[in-house]
Subunit: 209 residues, 2 copies
DNA sequence: TAAAACTAAACAAACGTTTAATTAAATTTA
DNA sequence: TAAATTTAATTAAACGTTTGTTTAGTTTTA
């Protein structure tokens, strides 16, 4: 779907507000005011608030899709190097697309089946499949262990990153980083997560010390 | 605070609805209807919808508090055994108090400062302190490594469990468990999580293979 | 001049909360 | 103990806002 400037403005604002206040906690008037458009424009352009949410999701979700196609075919890198790259891509994406990530979490918390929740399942299924191929490749080459619980592994990858995003205020308080700017803090967490997760996955996947 | 039967009924229903539909997605009429009381009773007993949320949190939060006081003083168990017990307690608590856990996640997703968000910070601070003492004890005894990032470690512990709770529908679909009962599925995930996290933490904390 | 973009106003429904009246329980008085 | 009185529990209805959406009219663009 192609959107004009005003439509993308609405989508951008909606993403932020849905992320921070939730779907029910955000009114179409909030969105319209912040986007600088008339309330009626949202129904006019998107049909309804629900449809706007779907538009937000469809328009932003491609940025959350892993790009590992060429990674798999690459013959220069070792399997563990590929996993390291994958970890950094996940960390990068989740911190970069924080608002979208939070919308996904919110959506998964509810039990209602919506078009959006179907899109989330599809997105996760595709990403899981990419990772599975990377792992199997490493196993075929004899570098990775045989008994790897990929679902749990993904749970740890996504879960750890999500948790650090979620508990940002707590982390700042504990580490005396309350005054640190958002960019600096994000860079700090990015490094910490990268080191931590690589250590974890090396132990989980390989037999090396 | 002491509550009578009708009040605890309201709190129980509210916990479930807030968990599944969110604070803004749940109306006081929904709660009143499901609890079988008049709408006005909620204001009468709790003052407001916000205050009801606080009551839910205060009344349920003690079940999420770690009980490690005697664990620390115990001299029979090895440090790693204590960590294993801690992991099982976390897994148990999070799966058992799923609704409360989801409310906590939801609350952490919003950036508004409420009395509830303050209570969450305090709960997390206390739990972190308990774990920190367990780790330091193991380090003093020379069993655990020196350079352990406790915040990241906790992020992985809580994050992994949270993620498995969150992505339950996805997990069921991937593993063909869509028809499995809630109890059976919970038991399945409990075991998987326990094994996975213990493996992870052993690698993270000790130098053993 | 026809189509698209945009606006202010109005719409009914749902929201959290309050009110005023009634019933039930507890306490005091005779 | 029985009646009288006070307090607490409960109700249906109403309150004023806010909600998402629609309408009918106006301005802009093609």
């Amino acid at each position: 779907m192609e959107y004009n400037d005003k439509q993308t403005a609405i989508i951008d604002i909606a993403e932020r507000l849905f992320s921070v206040s939730g779907f029910d906690g955000t009114s179409v008037r909030d969105i319209a005011n912040e986007a600088g458009v008339n309330v009626a424009m949202i129904s006019y352009y998107f049909g309804s608030k629900e449809k706007l949410m779907e538009a937000v999701f469809e328009h932003k979700s491609n940025k959350m899709r892993l790009k590992v196609e060429n990674l798999i075919q690459d013959t220069e890198m070792t399997p563990i190097q590929k996993i390291y790259l994958l970890i950094d891509e996940y960390v990068e994406k989740f911190l970069d697309q924080k608002n979208f990530h939070m919308i996904m979490m919110r959506e998964q918390l509810t039990d209602k089946r919506t078009p959006v929740s179907e899109l989330i399942l599809e997105l996760k299924r595709r990403n899981l499949e990419s990772v599975r191929m990377l792992i199997h490749d490493g196993q075929k080459k004899g570098v990775f262990k045989k008994n790897i619980d990929i679902s749990m592994m993904m749970g740890t990858l996504i879960g750890t990153v999500s948790q650090m995003v979620l508990s940002q205020p707590f982390y700042r308080k504990v580490h005396g980083m309350e005054e640190l700017g958002e960019q600096e803090f994000r860079s700090h967490i990015r490094k910490k997560l990268s080191i931590h997760l690589k250590k974890l996955f090396k132990a989980l996947l390989t037999n090396e010390a």
